[in-house]
Amino acid sequence: MNDIRDMILDSAGRLFSDRVNRELWQASEDGGFSDDAWHAVAEMGLTRMLLEEDEGGAGLDVADGLSLAELAGYHALPLPLAETFVGMRLVADRIKVSGEEIIVLAGEHNIIDARLEPAGEGWTLIGELQRIAWGRHAHYVLLDLPARDGDMRRVVVKADRLQWRPDVSLAGEARDSASLDSLALTANAVTATNKTGPSITEWGALLRSLQMAGAMRRALELAVEHANERKQFGRPIAKFQAIQQQLAAMAGQVAAAGAAAAAAARATEGEEPGFMIAVAKARVGEAAGMAAAVAHQVHAAMGFTREHTLHYYTRRLWSWRDEFGTEPYWQDRIGQRICATGGDGMWPFLSDL
């Protein structure tokens, strides 16, 4: 299994190295999108990566497949690949996909005053969507909502039926809002959720954690390269302890982020995937701020320019850490869970994770 994973990641890495460059990043600034790059990604089968083999997928373990999100983050891939390849898996039972479709996620922070009302054979969806990543470019939006019976439903909305109001993230990527406007849905668009699996909010948080872990890994590499090349006072700044100590501290944060995200990726099929995802989003998000700060400090003025590539990673870190729940949101969930367990019960719970 790891052979297949490594092969796919290897090919994907080469594709990203080829395609992700200043032009592609610029194409996604101000809310733009590169159809051409998306086609290349879909053609390689990356969007279908988590489908079963008989559905045209690679049949990878979820945890193995999710490494692709980390790799996409490492390359600051300006495409909605992560949400799409998870989305494809989640809708596989009801929508026939070609692999070119763009599927995006609306977590609970993206949904305002929404509700789901039965209407004849189907449903009516009421409410607002806000700051949906890649919204205006999407074919489908996935979201979870409770129906009147209190049980959660997973809803697939065709994105071209929405009027998107454009906005962008700090990285310039599309983050668009739309009114649901009593949207009529067929029965097929609304199904029960898998009660033990991650919610859409949790999937989103997990993907952003992995993407951040990757982007931080790359930011550290860039900072180390810069420190070895940039000379001041007659020698590379890498020689100065003031630089070394900061980069070592950053490396610790990057390592923690990688470990937390990887652990959460392995937990999606476990008993309480939400807890490990909460840990990951909280821990990685916290590390991201510190890592971005050190990377910029080491790069000094050069890293503060548009010309340098560092900001394509750090602006994504700053925007991703806010999406699908900020650190306090997830820390609160962890705190609630642990305080309900109590001091004595905490260890049996934690050691079982």
């Binding site: 070592a248 390592a255 306090p328 820390q331």
Partner: protein, 383 residues
């Protein structure tokens, strides 16, 4: 650039059995009020507790049976150790012997030393001290001044060791000494010797009280102390390589994460009572660190089990882990307004006082933060 690798590790079934065994043992200890969790750290010395650990097979777990071990895996040991730490058990007496000295003897000692010492350690009846630091050689370990000179059937040691925890109570100390004159390579010519603290002539031990007036450290003076040939560890002159190898064991364990766990435990109960928004958030943040660090530490244990040399990863665990341990008292005091006290009977106040007063040494012992970050920086390829 070199990247750190923290591959995920799954615990084997055997580890889960050991967890169960350790929990039963600890529950029984607590039921008999044999220790008070919130007053302990892994440095707390309790020879009786250590003997009971030995009887239950919790020391030298991964050593061969012929040396008193139980042929368990590094992950099995990890689980037992974390259970002990989480329970606040007083492991200080056998701690050094179990964590590093025994492993060192097993890997590099003479057959005579193995046969004589390892079974005693595993029985929880033989304790070790570390003899690396000297008054003028703290972070700069290679500058040791202790001299080892040839004598009939062995060596004679002269010099001084310092910060040796439990030297006044331990049976043995492993001394790092210069066995050849200092040459071009500062790291060559160092040798490790097993010194019998109780039976050797020429040893004087001076207590050094720490800032909360507890006797843990010592200064140990060596005046013509004889060590027999079979008490050398490894080849003469190769001590440096062994010392650095040992550090991966010393730096990556759950003891670099859980030093203030007893306070965290008290804090969770205190915060649970009020359950206010930002307090829950602060606790949740700490838990996100703890869960992540445990994964990292486990991952290093997996690498050690596979025979890899995760020096960098171990340094990272200690750097991030000790920062976490140090943060707990600083955060606890902001969340719950209870004045710290070393002995007023309030478990929260006592755990807070102990945590606050001992925190400074977390980022000093076993390699200062600055030294660790220097190692990491080198590992990152900064040149």
């Amino acid at each position: 650039m070199n990247s750190f690798r923290f591959d995920p590790v799954e615990l084997p079934d055997s580890a889960l059995s050991f967890r169960h065994a350790a929990r039963s043992f600890l529950a029984d200890e607590l039921a008999h009020e044999r220790f008070t969790p919130h007053r302990n750290s892994w440095g707390t010395y309790d020879a009786d507790f250590s003997r009971r650990c030995g009887q239950h097979g919790f020391i030298g777990m991964h050593w061969p049976q012929r040396y008193g071990g139980h042929e368990a895996s590094a992950l099995d040991r990890f689980v037992v150790i974390e259970e002990m730490l989480a329970a606040g058990a007083p492991m200080g007496a056998h701690w050094v012997a179990d964590r590093q000295s025994g492993n060192n003897i097993l890997a590099n000692g003479s057959e005579a030393a193995r046969e004589k010492i390892l079974p005693q350690i595993a029985a929880g009846e033989c304790f070790f001290a570390i003899g690396m630091s000297e008054p003028n050689s703290g972070s700069d370990l290679a500058s040791v001044g202790m001299r080892a000179t040839r004598a009939d059937g062995g060596w004679v040691l002269n010099g001084t060791k310092i910060w040796t925890s439990n030297a006044h109570q331990a049976h043995y100390l492993i001394a790092l000494a210069r066995s050849e004159p200092l040459g071009e390579d500062r790291h060559a010519g160092l040798t490790q010797f097993i010194v019998n603290l109780r039976e050797s002539d020429g040893i004087t031990t001076r207590p050094i009280y720490n800032l909360y007036n507890s006797h843990d450290f010592n200064e140990v003076f060596f005046d013509d102390v004889f060590v027999a040939d079979d008490m050398l560890i490894g080849d003469e002159g190769r001590g440096w390589q062994m010392v650095t190898g040992e550090l991966a064991f010393e730096r990556s364990g759950p003891d670099r994460i859980l030093s203030t766990y007893q306070l965290l435990r008290q804090l969770v109960d205190a915060v649970a009572k009020k359950a206010e928004g930002r307090d829950l958030i602060a606790v949740g943040r700490l838990i996100s660190h703890l869960v992540t660090l445990r994964r990292m530490s486990l991952s290093v244990a997996g690498m050690l089990e596979r025979g890899e040399s995760p020096e960098l990863e171990a340094a990272a665990v200690k750097d991030v882990g000790t920062a976490f341990e140090q943060e707990i008292p600083e955060i606890a005091r902001l969340l719950v307004d209870v004045a710290p006290s070393l002995d007023n009977g309030n478990p929260y106040a006592e755990a807070l006082a102990k945590g606050m007063l001992s925190a400074p040494c977390f980022s000093i012992r076993g390699g200062t933060r600055e030294i660790l970050r220097g190692i990491i920086a080198k590992g990152l390829g900064l040149r």
